[in-house]
Symmetry: C2
Subunit: 481 residues, 2 copies
């Protein structure tokens, strides 16, 4: 595989990401409010396709899409004590309607548990109302005081959030597993590699019993949280008095979960696959999957253009998202550059000699490998290539992640790896929160939590990296965004 | 046509609408903030389908979907003087981030012209950047002081807004015409009838040169504004200094339009077609187009259920959105009630005797007419029925609107018609704003404006209904929502 260099962007990742977002027309971040950006038409098309993937996955597991209001009365937000403590400092507050101060101020939703609360209280009556599995795709707001970054840390960003209510703790637990499987499917479709960790107690979602998080590794050695699933227990159902009548006539508070993926869902795919030429999009989410570029040659230009348009039309009829670039004021080379930057998975080049031989050249965006193909075989060949491409992109992402995941019992080595920005470090841990928090300070990195993947659930026979007591589990450490 | 009675709901329209929204699971309006409601899963599916229609229409005319931020710095909102005067009293204001007051307060978008302004200033440089035709589908916020009503007058509601920039006044003018054609297509697809009026000077969009509006007539004789198209001239481009370089090297401010359809786009279809049994949805937007109901009979129930599921599967494969209702705890009659309420266009009933004869009964939701159909012809027959249904629903809506549109030159008659809530009244007018505003007071109704339909553009030979001077045009008057 003749991969395009990613050396450069792995050293200057932040800059690469910011520049590519604007030059590939994904997001313009120059809006006059910090942390707010404009999704440009091309970026928005990718967004549409990514949203469709999550919709299909959630619809298939019986989640129903709904839409709840943006504004939260302060009186609602306050109902769950942990929750308000975690979020109030992060809220934008509406205090004024027209020229008048409001009697109760409203938060812009930072997340929606306290928006659903009063409605679930009205809706859920009997065990036959359960499970109730809802989701919505909305923008949420957090008054970030840290440095904001386009898509990665915004003050306004999209959120695909699922909220479920169940009759028993076991069912809520099973739902957490289902959400994890859903998110695995989602990121697998995006060809993104991830680690799944149970966040430590001191870093769970405000109001949750526990939090499971998906993290990816950025090329600069920092992890990015790209999805979370929370078991809420009865914390919110008690706060909002959401109960159901059991078959025996007694009442019980429902058991709840919630889960969310932000705009980082899209960032994850751009970051994982991009290279020095720009974006590389998996065919499934590419707004244009195939760009056909006629190579004009003197008096034959018109014939070539016509053939290119004809091929595109056939591909469209066969179900591909294909386009011809017939612009006359720029060279084929400039067109290659234009579409490579935007990550179009397949380029087809066609010139007068190709037409004579009844063939075209196919170029894969991820490897830039070229091959010729008879025009009559084009549909089938492209289907094979796109499937192969997705498989290889996924495999490559996983190989890279595994290569940058380290396991050590040696504190100095762990420190050194973090210092070198090597990736994710797994170390043995006694399980005491004190030890965990001290570890974060000593290593100057964050604890992602304990591995949640089944294959890493085995017992470990080791000592805690810090206190030397018997280790209970592995714990993951990394620099984080 | 044996239409279901609409007598009742035309007298108690408000109540009917509110009750149907909740019982048919469109919107729950009991959220603890006035003017904010929850789109329930069934309503949300209709919304998805309606949004798809407008997306397809706008995509086809070269509008590109983007997404702009929600928050507007007060300094941006203030830039266009008329605009801020029109909107500032209607804004929700964010004044606080976390515990701290913000230096500049932010409005929640009541509309987005002043959000696009600073970005267009950055994007548009040369005549080759024009025309720039964008749209977005978002929620907007207006601090309504009037009585709010679900979907009809909300404080948070969805907005499908187009924003375009052009090189010349003529191109902007042509774009207004294109937007009008787009909206005609949209409402035609929803089988909704409308009048298109040029709003009087004193009722145009704040900051526009002129405003063209689509109004529908509700069964209670009040009109509802369901779509608007505005020619903005250079008002906003001057305020935000959006210029382009012409081929000759000089600079000029761009010419702009904007257009929008709110959640009332969905309301319009529910209101136009609903009856005493509930909603009636045109097949194109119905989440379920066909509901198959097995009529069980003793030991044959299982065979019937199996056949029903088999038919549904075949219909789905043929591209219909079909569903079987196999619930065992309720009667077929209760199922009819359930799906009629939700407006499912076609019901198929199948019992043991139908199976013997290899046929089913088809029931159209709008007329409740029944017919039998051989199972092997079902797909074709349903396609024909659905097309016919849409045509007849549209025709019926137009007939109703025309029947309730009156023309008179007699002031007393006009007054009387308004008093009787008869509908839309067209009267001759001299064109003087004073006369128009006086007319509004005397008749105690609103002026919708002058007819914009081509077929009503003819000259009129009459005297102004108020001042008796020569009339320039017709003007429409109605009670409005």
């Amino acid at each position: 595989m003749a991969k395009v260099s990613r050396e450069k962007w792995s050293k200057q990742f932040g800059e690469w990401f910011r520049e590519t977002l604007i030059s590939a027309e994904i997001m313009d971040y120059r809006y006059p409010i910090k942390g707010c950006g404009v999704w440009l038409p091309y970026g928005f098309q990718i967004r549409r396709n990514v949203f469709q993937i999550i919709r299909d996955i959630l619809d298939a597991t019986g989640h129903k899409e709904a839409l709840f209001p943006l504004l939260i009365p302060e009186t609602s937000l306050e109902k769950e004590a942990e929750h308000v403590r975690g979020f109030e400092a992060q809220c934008f507050w509406v205090t004024q309607g027209g020229q008048k101060p409001l009697k109760i101020k409203y938060a812009l939703r930072p997340t929606s548990e306290t928006i659903l609360g009063p409605m679930l209280h009205l809706w859920i009556r009997a065990h036959t109302d359960l499970p109730l599995k809802l989701y919505q795709i909305v923008t949420v707001f957090r008054y970030e005081t840290k440095a904001t970054r386009p898509i990665l840390r915004m003050r306004e960003f999209d959120f695909k959030e699922a909220h479920t209510s169940h009759a028993t703790a076991e069912e809520a637990e099973a739902e957490v597993k289902e959400e994890i499987e859903n998110y695995k499917k989602f990121f697998d479709t995006l060809c993104v590699a991830y680690k799944i960790s149970r966040r430590p107690e001191w870093d769970k979602f405000a109001g949750a019993v526990y939090t499971i998080a998906f993290d990816m590794l950025c090329p600069d050695g920092r992890t990015l949280q790209i999805g979370t699933v929370h078991n809420l227990g009865q914390n919110f159902s008690k706060a909002f008095d959401v109960t159901y009548e059991k078959p025996d006539g007694t009442h019980e508070h429902v058991w709840q979960t919630c889960a969310g993926i932000s705009g980082r869902g899209i960032a994850s795919v751009l970051i994982t696959h991009g290279d020095d030429h720009g974006l590389v999009l998996p065919p499934k989410i590419a707004p244009t999957q195939i760009i056909v570029i006629p190579i004009p040659y003197k008096e034959k230009s018109e014939t070539v253009n016509k053939k290119a348009l004809e091929i595109t039309e056939k591909l469209e009829k066969a179900g591909f998202r294909a386009k011809t670039d017939t612009r006359e004021d720029i060279t084929p080379g400039a067109k290659y550059y234009h579409w490579e930057l935007r990550g179009v998975p397949i380029r087809i080049e066609i010139g007068p000699r190709d037409i004579e031989k009844n063939e075209v050249t196919i170029v894969r965006r991820d490897t830039l490998e070229r091959e010729t193909c008879k025009i009559e075989n084009l549909g089938n060949e492209l289907r094979v290539i796109m499937e192969k491409m997705a498989l290889e992109m996924r495999r490559e992402a996983w190989e890279w992640l595994e290569k940058h995941t380290y396991r050590t019992s040696n504190l100095e080595e762990a420190k050194q790896l973090i210092k070198e920005r090597a990736g994710i470090i797994e170390v043995p841990w006694c399980g005491a929160p004190g030890c965990g928090q001290e570890l974060e300070e000593i290593i100057d990195a964050r604890i992602l939590g304990t591995p949640e993947e089944e294959e890493t659930q085995q017992e470990i026979d080791d000592k805690c990296i810090l206190c030397n007591k018997t280790a209970k589990t592995l714990i993951r450490i990394a620099l984080t965004y």
